[in-house]
């Protein structure tokens, strides 16, 4: 049985399926006769839940580190909570009801109470309470708590979708692929798969319902197919395909130390996107020449309180030092929209993606912004740092942000602290108004970096997470190509200025030749995409790429552009997997 889905991460996986389906327990209220027996039943279930959680915590500590594992410690704490447990016992005793009903009603009460809190930190804790309640409930009812934390052999996870809480405790040594009902290239499951470098095919609509645990499954992250219960012939063919793919990956790795240069000597820069110093290894391993996007929001999101200047300085210094003379572009805090900080309460918004986020928020939280800028400036003496502002919609904001950088520089001067006086400042181009006025903005900056994910979302008015409309999300749409060209051309009116790209499009080999031909100077992408894009660039002349870009600009639809590029790539004899 074969199913077609969205490719989220490349490669071929062949292994047994583990169907990760969360069963919703049906709880019926019953009057009981033996109160003590019911209380005992509850106590046994709680004890069992505690044991499970402690085991998960110990394992997570080894696999993920103390910080990420602390969530499970919090779960144990909830189970140890006398108010929570006593409320369940009192419910059994006072209402003379069955244990499962008591667990459910008390969990629901606490859940509702926390979910209704205005503070987003507490509201988020409601999910922990529900997780713990569900675990106890399952143990009372004898439903197995599905657990991804320990497999004895290689396994492909089949699920509706995977949440961070699912993948946090996952056995990363044995999970070799994902296949899910829903999801897109930018969903959590996809990002997780790419960072683990395992194949994933998503958006398969009913893979969960049609697969059983233990059945053989093939995930083909090259063609976007999943085969359940393959035939002998299919198994043979895919085993061969897997070997071929691994060979291909091995040849790509030989490109590691070669420059990203066309056959006629046009040189571009190829860099990695990172979220923390932990990602540096991947960028170096894959031959990244620098960092084109350092997403500093993770430093804030993985912290219980606002990271101070020292903590930020240490992180930035580590990244900047590791690249020596090569550039590290640090994006200032991009929070808001779907990214929240537990210690910075923000109002719920009707349209968070059009709302109070990123640079807009930094202007109001000026001290927070200055702390970050000071940390970046101090770290800038250890290599070549560049500062980049996100969510710029007009030149006014660039001027305002630069004035704050000036303030920080003046303070550091007064304190006698050194920094790179010539540090370059640039902006993300991810709002159509900024792209259209890039000829104005360029006068204020040293570089642009095009953020294609948001630029597509805003230009095409498509929520890329919304399955109903995600088919409209196409970076090769003529509107996007024209904006990209406009931005590159604006930067090239100044000899020393340049345009980079740090969105998904930069790492998509089917877009590489067009971007190269349009004159993009720097490509920045997730580390695993670097070798393939480098290979594309090294396979053509700049002239050939320019011809392809010019042809693309004349086409009327994104689909026609995609078709044309596919033909050109095959005519040129370039193999992409």
């Amino acid at each position: 049985m074969e199913k077609i889905g969205i490719i989220a991460s490349p490669g071929i996986a062949i292994a047994k399926a583990f169907v990760y389906e969360k069963v919703e327990a049906v709880v019926i209220k019953k009057q009981i006769n033996d109160i003590d027996a019911e209380v005992e039943k509850l106590k046994i279930a709680i004890k069992k839940s505690k044991k499970e959680l402690e085991a998960i915590y110990e394992k997570a500590k080894i696999d993920l580190g103390e910080e990420d594992a602390s969530i499970f410690q919090a779960h144990v704490l909830i189970l140890n909570d006398p108010e929570f447990v006593d409320a369940m016992i009192s419910e059994i005793r006072n209402s003379v009801v069955n244990a499962e009903f008591a667990v459910k009603s008390i969990t629901d009460n606490f859940y509702t109470m926390f979910a209704a809190m205005e503070d987003p930190y507490f509201a988020a804790r409601s999910a922990d309470i529900r997780d713990v309640g569900t675990r106890v409930l399952n143990n009372v009812m004898g439903i197995e708590n599905l657990d991804l934390s320990s497999f004895s052999e290689n396994t492909i996870i089949i699920a509706k979708d995977l949440a961070p809480s699912d993948t946090a405790q996952m056995d990363k040594a044995h999970v070799v692929g994902f296949a899910t009902n829903i999801g897109s290239r930018t969903s959590h499951t996809a990002i997780m798969a790419r960072s683990l470098e395992i194949p994933a095919v998503l958006g398969l609509s009913d893979i969960l319902e049609t697969t059983k645990t233990g059945e053989m499954v093939i995930v083909d992250g090259i063609e976007g197919k999943v085969i359940v219960k393959p035939t002998e012939d299919e198994l043979k063919a895919y085993t061969a395909k897997q070997v071929k793919y691994l060979d291909y990956v091995a040849t790509l790795s030989q490109l590691k130390d070669l420059p990203a240069e066309t056959t006629d000597g046009h040189r571009i820069e190829i860099c990695g996107n990172i979220g923390s110093p932990n990602d540096l290894e991947g960028v170096h391993k894959n031959g990244g020449e620098g960092v084109g996007l350092y997403r500093t929001e993770f430093l804030y999101m993985n912290s219980d309180s606002m990271p101070d200047e020292e903590k930020q300085f240490e992180a930035y210094k580590k990244v900047i030092e590791s690249f020596g003379e090569r550039s590290v572009i640090i994006r200032t805090l991009d929070i808001g929209g779907d990214k929240k900080l537990p210690y910075l309460p923000l109002k719920e918004e009707m349209n968070p993606f059009l709302g109070f986020r990123a640079i807009r928020l930094c202007f109001r939280e000026k001290e927070m912004f200055k702390t970050q800028l000071r940390a970046i400036l101090r770290a800038s003496v250890f290599g070549k740092a560049r500062i980049m502002f996100p969510m710029i919609s007009s030149v006014m904001e660039v001027r305002q942000a630069k004035a704050i950088v000036q303030e920080c520089m003046a303070q550091l001067d007064a304190e006698g602290i050194v920094y790179d006086q010539n540090i370059e400042i640039g902006v993300m181009i991810e709002i159509p108004s900024a792209a259209i006025t890039s000829d104005i903005i360029v006068k204020e900056v040293d570089f642009f970096s095009i953020g294609t994910n948001d630029l597509c979302q805003y230009t095409l008015a498509v929520d890329r997470m919304n399955q109903e409309v995600s088919y409209l999300y196409n970076p090769l749409n003529p509107a996007i190509l024209r904006l990209v060209k406009m931005v590159i051309d604006a930067s090239h009116t100044h000899p020393d200025k340049f345009t980079g790209m740090c969105g998904e499009m930069a790492g998509d080999p089917s877009a590489t030749l067009i971007l190269l031909g349009l004159g993009l100077d720097e490509f920045s992408m997730s580390a695993s995409a670097i070798p393939q894009v480098k290979k594309m660039i090294r396979s053509v002349s700049f002239k050939q790429a320019q011809d392809i870009a010019n042809t693309a600009l004349k086409l009327e639809t994104g689909e026609a552009v995609a078709e044309m590029v596919k033909t050109k790539i095959s005519d040129l004899g370039i193999k992409i997997v």
Binding site: A74, D81, P82, F114
Partner: protein
Amino acid sequence: MVSQEVIVTNPTGLHGRPASILVTTASKFKSDIDIIKDGSHFNAKSIMSVMGSAVAQGYTIGIQADGVDEEQAVETLVTLIKNEFK
């Protein structure tokens, strides 16, 4: 019964890790321990009660203990809060 007032100065108040540390520490004592905020009592040994108190930075709260080790309990918790849970 012993009680003492203290100002919560750490930036996150009784959120996340500080709340966990407070509850874990309180649970080591035999006495009943309450946090008092604006006249309301919250069980210091209950993570949900402590979080439900929604104590933010800058609040003055009371720590009240009743039992065999009440003095030591109040002293330990007040010091913990004053040291910002470090």
